[in-house]
C-alpha cells in the first residue's frame, strides 16, 4: 500500500511517499515551483512523488475545519472554502481517500517516530497550526502522549516572527537572518523593554503574552530604526528566545522522566538556542525538516503510530549519477569554489552536500569570493562541513553533542585564524559533521580532500540563485552556471 503525507495550502508545501511503511521520498514544493516557501503543491513535485507510487491513501497534516474555526476566531474571516482539502487535492487530480492528522501531533510524530529513541520528551514550538502553538509530549515505546498544550494567541513562534517583521525582514521566511544579525547587537539594550512590553507570564511551561502579535508589531518603538537598533533588537529577541527554550528545557527535564530530548516545529531551526540546552539531556534529536514541510512525514508517522526507519535527509529529487569526487577536488584546487548537484536532494532547509556550493575554507580571501557570488549580507555566515571524527580538533561542540549531520547546532571554532570564512561574528560556526553513515559521496569527497590537503573540512553553502530556492535538477544547475559562471558538477 502506498501512502502520501501532504502538508500544503499554507506555507512550505511538501509530499512524503511511503510504501509498506518505508519512507521512499520526501520533497519540498518550492524546489519544483521556484517560489520560496511555496505554500501550494505543483505539478513538478506531484510528478516526482508519483515515481515512487500513486497514493492509495493521503494523510493530511492538520485538521482543516479546526483551523477554519481558529481563523474565524482570529478575525481572519471564514475560510471554509479555502480549507476544503478534498477540493484542493482535486485540483491536482489527487482524488483519493484522505485522513486528517493534527498540526502539532504531526510535528511531534515527525520527531519522535524518526528518532530511534525508546523514550523521549518532545517539545514542539511553532507559530500556529489549528489552535496550538506550544506542546510538550512524552514518548514511550510506540506511545506518544501530549502532556502540555498552549494555544493561540500565546505563540512564541508568532512573537519571533513579529520581531522579524519589526526589524524589516520577511516573517515566516527570514527568521534565520534575525538569528545571524543577533551576533552584531547588544542583547541587553532592549531586552527588558521587550520582556516588559510583550510578555505577561514566563513560568515554564506557561508562556503568555500581553498582546496578540498575529498582525505583527510594526507600531512598537517607532524610534528604533537605525541599523544598529536593528542589530540590538535582533540580539535581544534571540537572547529572549534562548532563555525561554532554556526554561522549557529545564522544566521538561525536571518534570518528565526521559533523558532524550526532541525539538520540533519551525522554532527548532534556531541552532543558536538549541546549542544552549544540550547539557540538560543525554541525547537530542531534531528531524532535519522540523517545520511544516516535515509534517508531511510526521502526519504519516502519526497515522502508523510507531517507530519508522529513518533513511536520512537525502529524500528528494534524484539526479542520479555517481558523486563527482575527483572532478570536485580538481576544481577546488584550481578554482577554489565549485557547485555540486548530485544524487538525491536534501529534505530540509540545509544544503548537506548534494545541492551545495563548496569552497576551500582556508585563508581570508575565500569569504569575499563566495560573497561575490551569493551577494549575501555580512551578517549571514557560511558553514563548514567536516569529517565527523575531526570535529573536536576544530570545534568546541555543545555539551553532549558529538555529531551534527543536519546543521542544527553551533560550535565555537578553536582555530579561527585559519578559517575566518566559516566563522560568524560571535566566533561560532553552524557545523555539519559528515559520518560514515551519511552521504557516501560527500563523505568520500571530504576524505579525499583531507588526504590531499590535510584539511578535513570544506565551506558549504546552499546552491541557489539569490532569492530563489535551492537548485533541484539539472536545468536549475545549468541556470546557476549561466548566472554566476561557477561550474556545477553533477
Amino acid at each position: 500500500m502506498n501512502i502520501w503525507g501532504i502538508s500544503a495550502n499554507s506555507h512550505d508545501a511538501a509530499i512524503s511517499v511511503w510504501h509498506d511503511k518505508e519512507l521512499q521520498f520526501a520533497g519540498h514544493s518550492e524546489r519544483y515551483s521556484g517560489i520560496k516557501n511555496d505554500g501550494d503543491l505543483c505539478e513538478g513535485i506531484i510528478a516526482d512523488a508519483k515515481k515512487y507510487g500513486e497514493p492509495d491513501l493521503i494523510v493530511w497534516y492538520e485538521k482543516p475545519w479546526l483551523k477554519t474555526v481558529r481563523q474565524l476566531y482570529a478575525g481572519q474571516g471564514y475560510k471554509g472554502k479555502e480549507n476544503n482539502i478534498k477540493q484542493y487535492l482535486s485540483k491536482y487530480n489527487l482524488d483519493k481517500p484522505v485522513v486528517f492528522g493534527k498540526h502539532h501531533e504531526s510535528h511531534a510524530a515527525a520527531g519522535y517516530y524518526t528518532s530511534g529513541y525508546q523514550d523521549a520528551t518532545v517539545i514542539v514550538i511553532d507559530s500556529i497550526g489549528e489552535f496550538e502553538c506550544l506542546t510538550v509530549w512524552e514518548g514511550q515505546g510506540n506511545n506518544l502522549k501530549k502532556v502540555y498544550s498552549q494555544s493561540y494567541p500565546n505563540s512564541i513562534g508568532i512573537w519571533f516572527s513579529a520581531m522579524t517583521q519589526r526589524i524589516g525582514l520577511k516573517p515566516n521566511e527570514e527568521e534565520y537572518i534575525l538569528m545571524g544579525m543577533a551576533a552584531y547587537g547588544d542583547p541587553n539594550k532592549y531586552k527588558a523593554d521587550i520582556y516588559n512590553d510583550f510578555f505577561k507570564t514566563i513560568q515554564s511551561p506557561v508562556i503568555k503574552f500581553k498582546r496578540n502579535l498575529h498582525r505583527g508589531c510594526p507600531d512598537w518603538r517607532p524610534d528604533l530604526i537605525s541599523l544598529q537598533d536593528t542589530y540590538d533588537l535582533a540580539a535581544a529577541t534571540q537572547q529572549i528566545y534562548t532563555e525561554i527554550l532554556q526554561k522549557l528545557s529545564t522544566w521538561a527535564r525536571s518534570t518528565l522522566t526521559s533523558k532524550n530530548l526532541i525539538i520540533m516545529g519551525g522554532c527548532a531551526l534556531n541552532c543558536v538556542a538549541n546549542s544552549e540546552i544540550t547539557g540538560d539531556w543525554d541525547n537530542v534529536w531534531i528531524m532535519p525538516n522540523p517545520g511544516d514541510a516535515g509534517s508531511s512525514v510526521g502526519a504519516v508517522a502519526a497515522y502508523f503510530g510507531e517507530q519508522v526507519n529513518w533513511p536520512g535527509a537525502y529524500l528528494g529529487t534524484n539526479m542520479g549519477k555517481k558523486y563527482p569526487v575527483e572532478q570536485t577536488i580538481d576544481l577546488l584546487k584550481t578554482n577554489k569554489i565549485v557547485g555540486v548537484a548530485s544524487g538525491r536532494a536534501e529534505f530540509g532547509p540545509r544544503a548537506l552536500g548534494h545541492r551545495s556550493l563548496l569552497a576551500d575554507p582556508r585563508g581570508p580571501e575565500i569569504k569575499d569570493t563566495v560573497n561575490a557570488i551569493k551577494r549575501r549580507q555580512q551578517f549571514r555566515p557560511f558553514a563548514p562541513a567536516i569529517l565527523e571524527e575531526h570535529v573536536h580538533d576544530y570545534f568546541d561542540m555543545p555539551k553532549n553533542i558529538d555529531t551534527s549531520p543536519y546543521m542544527q547546532f553551533v560550535a565555537r571554532c578553536t582555530r579561527p585564524d585559519e578559517f575566518p570564512a566559516i566563522i560568524h561574528k560571535d566566533g561560532t560556526s553552524r557545523v555539519q559533521t559528515v559520518g560514515k553513515n551519511d552521504s557516501p559521496g560527500f563523505r568520500k569527497l571530504l576524505e579525499n580532500w583531507y588526504s590531499e590537503t590535510g584539511c578535513p573540512m570544506l565551506l558549504n553553502t546552499s546552491l541557489n540563485i539569490k532569492g530563489q530556492p535551492m537548485v533541484n535538477n539539472l536545468k536549475h544547475a545549468k541556470d546557476f552556471y549561466k548566472k554566476y559562471n561557477v561550474p556545477v558538477l553533477s
Binding site: 524589516g168 498575529h214 505583527g216 510594526p218 544598529q228
Partner: protein, 47 residues
C-alpha cells in the same frame, strides 16, 4: 599642594556623533517605509 580654587570647571567630553554610512542610511529609510506600509495594511503574519 594643588590649589583647587584655581581649577578650571570640568568640561563635558565632546562626543562626536558617528557619521552614518550610505548602507546605514539606506537601511533606515527602507525600514521606515516597510513599517509605514505594514501599519497601513495591518496584515496577518500567518494564515
Amino acid at each position: 599642594m594643588e590649589n583647587n580654587t584655581n581649577q578650571q570647571p570640568t568640561q563635558e567630553p565632546v562626543v562626536e556623533e558617528k557619521q552614518k554610512t550610505a548602507e546605514e542610511l539606506q537601511w533606515e529609510e527602507q525600514l521606515k517605509q516597510r513599517l509605514e506600509e505594514l501599519r497601513k495594511r495591518d496584515p496577518f503574519i500567518y494564515k
